[in-house]
C-alpha cells in the first residue's frame, strides 16, 4: 500500500464511481484529508435523525427512529407475570433485536444475522444498567403480579450505526409507553380492562386508576464512531463501516455517566485522547437527541 498520491494519476483518468468501487479506502481517504465525507457531512456530524412515536397502534408503546436511512421500529408489549422470588417487587424487561432479510443484502433468509443476538444483549445491558427504568414501577402486587415488558426492535433498513438507532428507538418506545389498566377478577387473576370500560365505574377496583406512564430517569444515548488513522468519523454509514473496521460505541446517560464504552478489536488502537474525543462527541450528540425525543413527545401530545 502506498500513499494516496500514488494512485493520483489513476483517479484523474478514471470515472469517480469506478474509482470509488476499485479503491474504496483511497476514495475515502482523499475525502477525509479534505475534512469532508462522500455524503457531504463533516467528519464529526451525525446524520439527520427523526423519531416518531406511536407507529404501531396495537402495541402499548412504539416508536420509529431513523438515523440517515438506518430505520428501526420498536414496539413494547406488556404482559402480567409472576415476579421472581429474588425480587418480588420488581417487574422485568426482555429485549429482542431482529434483523429480517429485508434490512440488508448481508442478511440471508433462514440464517439469522450474527450481530442480532449480540445487539439484543447490549441493548438490554444498556437499558437496565443506565437506570432509565425503575423496575419497581413495573410491580403490581408485591410477590403476586408484575409487568413484563417485551421490547421488540425490528431493523428495517441497516445502513450503519445499528446500535445507536436501536437504542434511540427503544428509548422513544419507552417514553411512549402507557401501561394498560388491569384489575383483579373473582378468581384473583389479573385481567386487562378494555379501552371502552376505562373511566367508567367498575365493580372491581382497578390496580391503577388510569393508563400510567413510566417515569424515565437518566436516559441512555449512544454514538458510534469510526477510528481510522487519526481521523474520527461520527455515525458511520454501512459503506463506511465495511471499509474502515474500527468502531467505538460510547453510551452516556442523561446524568452524564458512562453506561458503556464498547470497542471490539479492529485494526486501529484507541488511545486515551481518541477515547476522550469520542466521549465529547457523544455528549454533543446527546443534547441533539434529547431535543429530538422531547420534540417527538410534545408533538404527540398535541395530536
Amino acid at each position: 500500500m502506498g500513499t494516496p498520491n500514488a494512485v493520483g494519476d489513476w483517479s484523474s483518468e478514471m470515472e469517480v464511481s469506478a474509482f470509488r468501487r476499485l479503491f474504496p479506502l483511497r476514495y475515502y481517504e482523499r475525502h477525509l484529508s479534505e475534512s469532508i465525507r462522500p455524503d457531504a457531512r463533516p467528519l464529526k456530524r451525525a446524520r439527520d435523525t427523526i423519531v416518531s412515536l406511536g407507529a404501531v397502534a396495537s402495541s402499548d408503546g412504539s416508536a420509529l427512529a431513523k438515523i440517515g436511512s438506518t430505520t428501526m421500529l420498536a414496539a413494547i408489549k406488556m404482559e402480567v407475570m409472576t415476579p421472581s422470588v429474588d425480587s418480588p417487587d420488581e417487574g422485568s424487561v426482555a429485549v429482542e433485536f431482529h434483523m429480517p432479510p429485508i434490512c440488508s443484502p448481508v442478511v440471508r433468509p433462514g440464517r439469522p444475522a450474527e450481530v442480532a443476538p449480540v445487539t439484543s444483549k447490549q441493548l438490554f445491558d444498556c437499558l437496565l444498567s443506565s437506570g432509565m427504568i425503575d423496575l419497581k414501577e413495573l410491580s403490581l402486587i408485591k410477590g403476586k403480579a408484575a409487568w413484563m415488558a417485551y421490547l421488540d426492535i425490528y431493523c428495517l433498513d441497516a445502513d450503519g450505526a445499528l446500535f445507536d438507532a436501536a437504542l434511540l428507538s427503544a428509548v422513544a418506545a419507552f417514553s411512549h409507553l402507557r401501561i394498560p389498566v388491569v384489575s383483579l377478577n373473582d378468581e384473583g387473576r389479573m385481567v386487562m380492562v378494555s379501552k371502552e370500560l376505562e373511566g367508567e365505574k367498575l365493580d372491581k377496583e382497578p390496580v391503577d386508576k388510569e393508563r400510567r406512564k413510566l417515569s424515565l430517569k437518566s436516559i441512555p444515548f449512544s454514538l458510534t464512531c469510526i477510528l481510522h488513522k487519526n481521523y474520527i468519523l461520527a455515525d458511520p454509514t454501512f459503506e463506511e463501516e465495511s471499509i474502515m473496521e474500527t468502531f467505538i460505541t460510547v453510551v452516556l446517560n442523561s446524568s452524564g455517566q458512562l453506561v458503556s464504552l464498547y470497542k471490539s478489536g479492529g485494526p486501529v488502537l484507541a488511545h486515551t485522547s481518541a477515547i476522550q474525543e469520542c466521549v465529547a462527541l457523544t455528549r454533543q450528540r446527546m443534547k441533539e437527541l434529547e431535543e429530538i425525543i422531547d420534540e417527538a413527545i410534545s408533538t404527540m401530545e398535541i395530536d
Binding site: G131, K263, S264, G265, A270, S273, I275
Partner: protein
Amino acid sequence: MEIDRADGRNPNQLRPLSCSRGVLNRAHGSASWAQGNTQVLAAVYGPKAGTKKNENPEKASVEVIWKPKTGQIGKQEKEYEMVLKRTLQSICILTIHPNTTTSVIVQVVHDDGALLPCAINASCAALVDAGIPLKHLAVAICCCLADSGLVMLDPTKLEEEKMKAFVYLVLPNSILSVLPEESSSVKGEQMEQGLITSVTHGVMSVDDYLHCLERGRAATSKMSDFLRRNLQPQLSSDSSKAG
C-alpha cells in the same frame, strides 16, 4: 480506602496465573490458561481452505466457537464469541493466508470471574502455539470498580456481582513483531497504550473509566512479561519439531 477482598489480595493484586501450551494432541495449537479458579482451554485448528459466506476472501478469517461449561450457548456467549473473534482478527496478520479460516474453540473449564479476559489470553497463547502469524500479542484484564471509586483488578465471580461496574480491557503486548506503516506513537502516546477491546458493564463516571484504563495498562505489562516468559522456552524446543 481499603476494601478487604475475600481472598486477602490487595486491590492491585492478580490471582496466580498459569498457562500451559500444547495440551491437546490433535489440535494444531492449544493452550490452557488459568487465573485463580477461572480456567479456559483453547484449541486452534487451521488455517483451513476457504472462508464462510460474506467474509472477505482476500483476507484470512477467524472463527470462534464458544463452549460453556454446561448447557446451551445463549446471548451472553454469542457476545463473547463476537468480541473474541473481532479481537483475534485485529491481532492476526490476515493478509498472509488469504481465503482461509482459522477456528478457535474455547472451552470454559471453570468460571470464577474475569471469564472473557481469561478466554482471550488462552486463545492468544493457543494461536502462538499453532504458529498463526500475529502482529503482536494481546493481553486482557478485568478491572472492577467499587462504589467508593476504588479499582480492583482481576475480580472473582463474587466480587464481579458485588461491584457497581466492571471493565474488560484488551491491550497489545509491548514488543511488536511487525511494525505498522505509521510511526508507533500517536501524539506522544506509546503503541502499547492503545486499546484493542473494551467492554463495560454497569454505570461509572468517565474519569473512573480512564482510571481503570490506567490501572489496567500497568497490570497488563506484568501479564505480558508472564506470557512472553511462558512462550519463550517452548519456542526453542518447538523449532526442532517444526523443521
